[in-house]
Symmetry: C2
Subunit: 121 residues, 2 copies
Amino acid sequence: MSFREQIERIVNEVPGCVSCTLMGFDGIAVDTVDRSETVDGVNISDATIEYANLVRQMRTAAEGLASGAIEEVCVRSEKLSTVLRPINEEYLVAASFSSDGLLGKGRYLLRVIAPRLGEEL
Amino acid sequence: MSFREQIERIVNEVPGCVSCTLMGFDGIAVDTVDRSETVDGVNISDATIEYANLVRQMRTAAEGLASGAIEEVCVRSEKLSTVLRPINEEYLVAASFSSDGLLGKGRYLLRVIAPRLGEEL
Protein backbone atom coordinates (compact mmCIF):
# COMPACT_ATOMS: atom_id res chain seq x y z
CA MET A 1 0.00 0.00 0.00
CA SER A 2 1.41 3.42 -0.98
CA PHE A 3 1.62 6.14 1.65
CA ARG A 4 -1.26 7.89 -0.10
CA GLU A 5 -3.43 4.83 0.47
CA GLN A 6 -2.29 4.57 4.11
CA ILE A 7 -3.29 8.12 4.98
CA GLU A 8 -6.52 7.78 2.98
CA ARG A 9 -7.36 4.83 5.20
CA ILE A 10 -7.34 7.01 8.35
CA VAL A 11 -9.69 9.59 6.82
CA ASN A 12 -12.01 6.93 5.38
CA GLU A 13 -12.15 4.60 8.37
CA VAL A 14 -12.22 6.93 11.36
CA PRO A 15 -15.48 8.80 12.04
CA GLY A 16 -14.79 12.52 12.54
CA CYS A 17 -11.32 12.40 10.99
CA VAL A 18 -11.24 15.42 8.68
CA SER A 19 -7.65 15.32 7.50
CA CYS A 20 -4.49 13.24 7.54
CA THR A 21 -1.16 14.54 6.38
CA LEU A 22 2.35 13.23 5.96
CA MET A 23 4.60 16.17 6.72
CA GLY A 24 8.21 17.15 7.21
CA PHE A 25 9.13 18.67 10.58
CA ASP A 26 9.79 21.83 8.56
CA GLY A 27 5.99 22.10 8.11
CA ILE A 28 5.97 21.20 4.42
CA ALA A 29 3.38 18.54 3.57
CA VAL A 30 4.41 15.56 1.45
CA ASP A 31 0.83 14.46 0.92
CA THR A 32 -2.54 15.25 2.48
CA VAL A 33 -5.95 13.63 2.32
CA ASP A 34 -8.78 15.77 3.65
CA ARG A 35 -12.53 15.99 3.71
CA SER A 36 -12.40 19.71 4.29
CA GLU A 37 -9.84 22.53 4.61
CA THR A 38 -11.46 23.79 7.79
CA VAL A 39 -13.30 22.34 10.76
CA ASP A 40 -15.62 24.62 12.72
CA GLY A 41 -13.88 27.61 11.09
CA VAL A 42 -10.34 26.45 11.99
CA ASN A 43 -7.82 26.09 9.15
CA ILE A 44 -6.57 22.53 9.56
CA SER A 45 -3.35 22.97 7.60
CA ASP A 46 -2.32 26.03 9.66
CA ALA A 47 -3.05 24.14 12.89
CA THR A 48 -1.02 21.10 11.79
CA ILE A 49 1.97 23.26 10.86
CA GLU A 50 1.85 25.06 14.24
CA TYR A 51 1.57 21.81 16.18
CA ALA A 52 4.29 20.07 14.12
CA ASN A 53 6.63 22.91 15.07
CA LEU A 54 5.79 22.39 18.74
CA VAL A 55 6.33 18.62 18.45
CA ARG A 56 9.76 19.43 17.02
CA GLN A 57 10.45 21.48 20.16
CA MET A 58 9.16 18.62 22.31
CA ARG A 59 11.64 16.29 20.64
CA THR A 60 14.46 18.65 21.52
CA ALA A 61 13.13 18.84 25.10
CA ALA A 62 12.84 15.03 25.27
CA GLU A 63 16.47 14.68 24.19
CA GLY A 64 17.52 16.98 27.04
CA LEU A 65 15.38 15.01 29.48
CA ALA A 66 16.63 11.63 28.19
CA SER A 67 13.01 10.44 28.14
CA GLY A 68 13.45 8.58 24.86
CA ALA A 69 11.87 9.30 21.50
CA ILE A 70 8.52 11.12 21.35
CA GLU A 71 6.03 8.52 20.15
CA GLU A 72 2.82 10.52 20.02
CA VAL A 73 1.44 13.94 20.86
CA CYS A 74 -2.28 14.54 21.14
CA VAL A 75 -3.72 18.06 21.36
CA ARG A 76 -7.40 18.49 22.13
CA SER A 77 -8.93 21.91 21.75
CA GLU A 78 -12.60 22.91 21.74
CA LYS A 79 -13.03 22.82 17.97
CA LEU A 80 -10.23 20.59 16.73
CA SER A 81 -8.20 17.66 17.99
CA THR A 82 -4.92 16.63 16.43
CA VAL A 83 -2.81 13.50 16.87
CA LEU A 84 0.79 13.74 15.69
CA ARG A 85 3.20 10.85 15.40
CA PRO A 86 6.86 11.21 14.43
CA ILE A 87 7.86 8.64 11.79
CA ASN A 88 11.57 9.29 11.70
CA GLU A 89 14.00 12.20 12.18
CA GLU A 90 12.47 14.18 9.33
CA TYR A 91 8.82 13.26 8.98
CA LEU A 92 5.65 12.94 11.01
CA VAL A 93 2.07 11.93 10.30
CA ALA A 94 -0.76 14.03 11.71
CA ALA A 95 -4.50 13.39 11.78
CA SER A 96 -7.11 16.03 12.63
CA PHE A 97 -10.53 15.38 14.08
CA SER A 98 -13.68 17.35 14.68
CA SER A 99 -14.65 17.67 18.34
CA ASP A 100 -16.87 14.55 18.12
CA GLY A 101 -14.27 12.46 16.24
CA LEU A 102 -13.21 8.99 17.35
CA LEU A 103 -9.75 9.92 18.54
CA GLY A 104 -9.09 6.52 20.08
CA LYS A 105 -9.55 4.71 16.79
CA GLY A 106 -7.52 7.39 15.02
CA ARG A 107 -4.63 6.99 17.45
CA TYR A 108 -4.73 3.22 17.01
CA LEU A 109 -4.62 3.38 13.20
CA LEU A 110 -1.87 6.00 13.22
CA ARG A 111 0.21 3.69 15.37
CA VAL A 112 -0.37 0.92 12.83
CA ILE A 113 0.45 2.95 9.71
CA ALA A 114 3.40 5.03 11.02
CA PRO A 115 6.01 2.23 10.63
CA ARG A 116 4.60 1.39 7.17
CA LEU A 117 4.92 5.03 6.13
CA GLY A 118 8.50 4.91 7.41
CA GLU A 119 9.21 2.03 5.04
CA GLU A 120 7.80 3.96 2.07
CA LEU A 121 9.80 7.12 2.71
CA MET B 1 -12.06 17.59 48.88
CA SER B 2 -8.96 19.84 48.91
CA PHE B 3 -6.81 20.06 45.82
CA ARG B 4 -4.18 18.02 47.61
CA GLU B 5 -6.71 15.20 48.00
CA GLN B 6 -7.80 15.53 44.37
CA ILE B 7 -4.29 15.11 42.98
CA GLU B 8 -3.55 12.35 45.49
CA ARG B 9 -6.54 10.50 44.05
CA ILE B 10 -4.94 10.35 40.58
CA VAL B 11 -1.67 8.90 41.91
CA ASN B 12 -3.45 6.44 44.19
CA GLU B 13 -6.13 5.23 41.79
CA VAL B 14 -4.34 5.04 38.45
CA PRO B 15 -1.88 2.16 37.93
CA GLY B 16 1.44 3.47 36.61
CA CYS B 17 0.76 7.10 37.58
CA VAL B 18 4.00 8.23 39.22
CA SER B 19 3.26 11.90 39.81
CA CYS B 20 0.49 14.49 39.68
CA THR B 21 1.14 18.18 40.03
CA LEU B 22 -0.87 21.37 40.15
CA MET B 23 1.31 23.97 38.50
CA GLY B 24 1.31 27.54 37.25
CA PHE B 25 2.02 28.06 33.55
CA ASP B 26 5.22 29.73 34.78
CA GLY B 27 6.45 26.24 35.76
CA ILE B 28 6.17 26.75 39.52
CA ALA B 29 4.35 23.89 41.26
CA VAL B 30 1.58 24.70 43.75
CA ASP B 31 1.44 21.15 45.03
CA THR B 32 2.76 17.78 43.89
CA VAL B 33 2.04 14.20 44.90
CA ASP B 34 4.54 11.67 43.64
CA ARG B 35 5.61 8.10 44.11
CA SER B 36 9.06 8.85 42.79
CA GLU B 37 11.12 11.80 41.53
CA THR B 38 12.21 9.87 38.47
CA VAL B 39 10.80 7.24 36.16
CA ASP B 40 13.22 5.09 34.17
CA GLY B 41 15.92 7.69 34.91
CA VAL B 42 13.85 10.67 33.71
CA ASN B 43 13.36 13.58 36.13
CA ILE B 44 9.57 13.98 36.22
CA SER B 45 9.56 17.54 37.54
CA ASP B 46 11.92 18.74 34.79
CA ALA B 47 9.78 17.03 32.15
CA THR B 48 6.56 18.57 33.50
CA ILE B 49 8.07 22.06 33.51
CA GLU B 50 9.29 21.65 29.90
CA TYR B 51 5.94 20.35 28.71
CA ALA B 52 3.97 23.02 30.61
CA ASN B 53 5.99 25.63 28.77
CA LEU B 54 5.11 24.00 25.44
CA VAL B 55 1.42 23.82 26.40
CA ARG B 56 1.61 27.56 27.07
CA GLN B 57 2.93 28.02 23.53
CA MET B 58 0.16 25.77 22.20
CA ARG B 59 -2.40 28.01 23.89
CA THR B 60 -0.94 31.02 22.13
CA ALA B 61 -0.99 29.09 18.83
CA ALA B 62 -4.61 28.01 19.46
CA GLU B 63 -5.63 31.63 20.00
CA GLY B 64 -4.12 32.56 16.63
CA LEU B 65 -5.88 29.61 15.00
CA ALA B 66 -9.22 30.39 16.72
CA SER B 67 -9.49 26.69 17.55
CA GLY B 68 -10.87 27.37 21.03
CA ALA B 69 -9.31 26.65 24.39
CA ILE B 70 -6.75 23.85 24.71
CA GLU B 71 -8.48 21.16 26.78
CA GLU B 72 -5.77 18.51 26.99
CA VAL B 73 -2.30 17.72 25.72
CA CYS B 74 -0.90 14.22 25.93
CA VAL B 75 2.78 13.50 25.25
CA ARG B 76 3.93 9.92 24.99
CA SER B 77 7.62 9.20 24.93
CA GLU B 78 9.46 5.90 25.31
CA LYS B 79 10.07 6.19 29.05
CA LEU B 80 7.45 8.67 30.25
CA SER B 81 3.97 9.77 29.28
CA THR B 82 2.45 13.02 30.49
CA VAL B 83 -1.11 14.33 30.34
CA LEU B 84 -1.54 18.06 30.88
CA ARG B 85 -4.84 19.85 31.34
CA PRO B 86 -5.20 23.61 31.64
CA ILE B 87 -7.48 24.56 34.55
CA ASN B 88 -7.72 28.29 33.93
CA GLU B 89 -5.58 31.11 32.50
CA GLU B 90 -2.87 30.62 35.11
CA TYR B 91 -2.84 26.98 36.20
CA LEU B 92 -2.72 23.49 34.81
CA VAL B 93 -2.73 19.99 36.24
CA ALA B 94 -0.27 17.42 34.91
CA ALA B 95 -0.02 13.68 35.55
CA SER B 96 2.98 11.56 34.61
CA PHE B 97 2.95 7.85 33.88
CA SER B 98 5.48 5.10 33.40
CA SER B 99 5.44 3.52 29.95
CA ASP B 100 3.01 0.80 31.12
CA GLY B 101 0.69 3.24 32.94
CA LEU B 102 -3.08 3.33 32.38
CA LEU B 103 -3.17 6.63 30.52
CA GLY B 104 -6.83 6.26 29.58
CA LYS B 105 -7.95 6.10 33.19
CA GLY B 106 -5.58 8.93 34.06
CA ARG B 107 -7.02 11.15 31.35
CA TYR B 108 -10.54 10.37 32.52
CA LEU B 109 -9.82 11.25 36.16
CA LEU B 110 -7.95 14.43 35.21
CA ARG B 111 -11.00 15.54 33.23
CA VAL B 112 -13.12 14.91 36.34
CA ILE B 113 -10.89 16.71 38.84
CA ALA B 114 -9.80 19.71 36.69
CA PRO B 115 -13.02 21.74 37.22
CA ARG B 116 -12.95 20.88 40.95
CA LEU B 117 -9.37 22.14 41.19
CA GLY B 118 -10.53 25.30 39.42
CA GLU B 119 -13.10 25.84 42.17
CA GLU B 120 -10.44 25.47 44.89
CA LEU B 121 -7.97 27.91 43.33
